[in-house]
């Protein structure tokens, strides 16, 4: 299961909306081994394409070094699909190389409701997982809401 703050979810969706119709992509880093996504890092889609994304290679080197220095890892790797659903494509699966990461897909094909789903991709096998969104106030405040995979996020006001 992916557990994510409402704020980080909103930032992913906002990035995907901002880059629409091109695919948007990025990382949420967290302390190594914690499985806690904390630091939002939007990345440049070097392809600037509605059908493909690729992290800019030099930006990726800089960001990966920074994570290494801070003892972080990419807990979430996200990207958007702008004309299809939020499910990993064959290309997504063939490139997936972080078995510990949560691969988040956002679909922006519907201008009102973003589709937000999370997957594990290990050795070519895709497994969808639940997404738990922690409302402002954080866990323990009673504000957490659990949202099964396939969640829909309304457009911001």
């Amino acid at each position: 299961m992916l557990t994510l703050s409402a704020e980080l979810q909103a930032r992913i969706v906002a990035h995907a909306r901002a880059d629409h119709p091109d695919e948007a992509c990025g990382v949420i880093a967290g302390p190594a081994g914690s499985d806690r996504p904390e630091r939002f890092i939007p990345m440049t889609n070097a392809e600037r394409s509605p059908t493909f994304y690729r992290f800019d290679s030099l930006e990726q080197l800089r960001v990966w070094r920074e994570m290494d220095d801070r003892d972080e890892e990419p807990v979430v790797i996200y990207h958007s699909h702008t004309a299809t659903g939020a499910y990993p494509s064959r290309t997504d699966v063939s490139y997936a190389s972080e078995p510990e990461a949560h691969y988040v897909l956002v679909s922006t094909r519907d201008p009102e409701q973003a589709e937000f789903r999370s997957f594990r991709i290990v050795e070519g096998v895709v497994t969808e997982e639940d997404v738990e969104i922690i409302a402002p106030g954080g866990p323990g405040s009673g504000g957490g809401t659990r949202d099964a995979g396939g969640g829909r996020v309304p457009a911001a006001e």
């Binding site: 695919e23 992509c25 990345m43 392809e47 394409s49 509605p50 059908t51 493909f52 994304y53 690729r54 992290f55 290679s57 030099l58 990726q60 080197l61 990966w64 890892e73 790797i77 990207h79 699909h81 702008t82 004309a83 299809t84 990993p88 494509s89 064959r90 290309t91 997504d92 063939s94 490139y95 997936a96 190389s97 972080e98 078995p99 510990e100």
Partner: protein
């Protein structure tokens, strides 16, 4: 002195878990062959025929070797070569 090769998590099963290994050579291709002699199979994960695989990014110090000379990029003692999995995908 030697050349340091930094290995991403996904390929550390070839290096006994080590994050970095050392090797020698005058080009990237020679370095990878040298390292492969001790960590068999690693080279195949990075190279397909005469080219780098599209699934990986390889950097010489701060530069992407695709913009230098690919596998023929000259390397020397004291250099650091970093391998990262390319992060990419698409809708099909």
């Amino acid at each position: 002195m030697a050349i340091e090769l930094r290995i991403p998590t996904i390929l550390r099963n070839y290096t006994g878990g080590a994050k970095t290994v050392e090797g020698k050579g005058s080009t990237l291709a020679e370095l990878l062959s040298d390292v492969d002699a001790r960590h068999g199979g690693l080279r195949d994960r990075l190279v397909d025929g005469a080219e780098l695989r599209r699934f990986v990014n390889v950097y010489l110090n701060d530069e992407d070797v695709r913009f230098l000379g690919g596998l023929e990029t000259p390397v020397k003692d004291g250099d650091t070569v970093t391998v990262l999995p390319a992060v990419a995908g698409g809708r099909t």
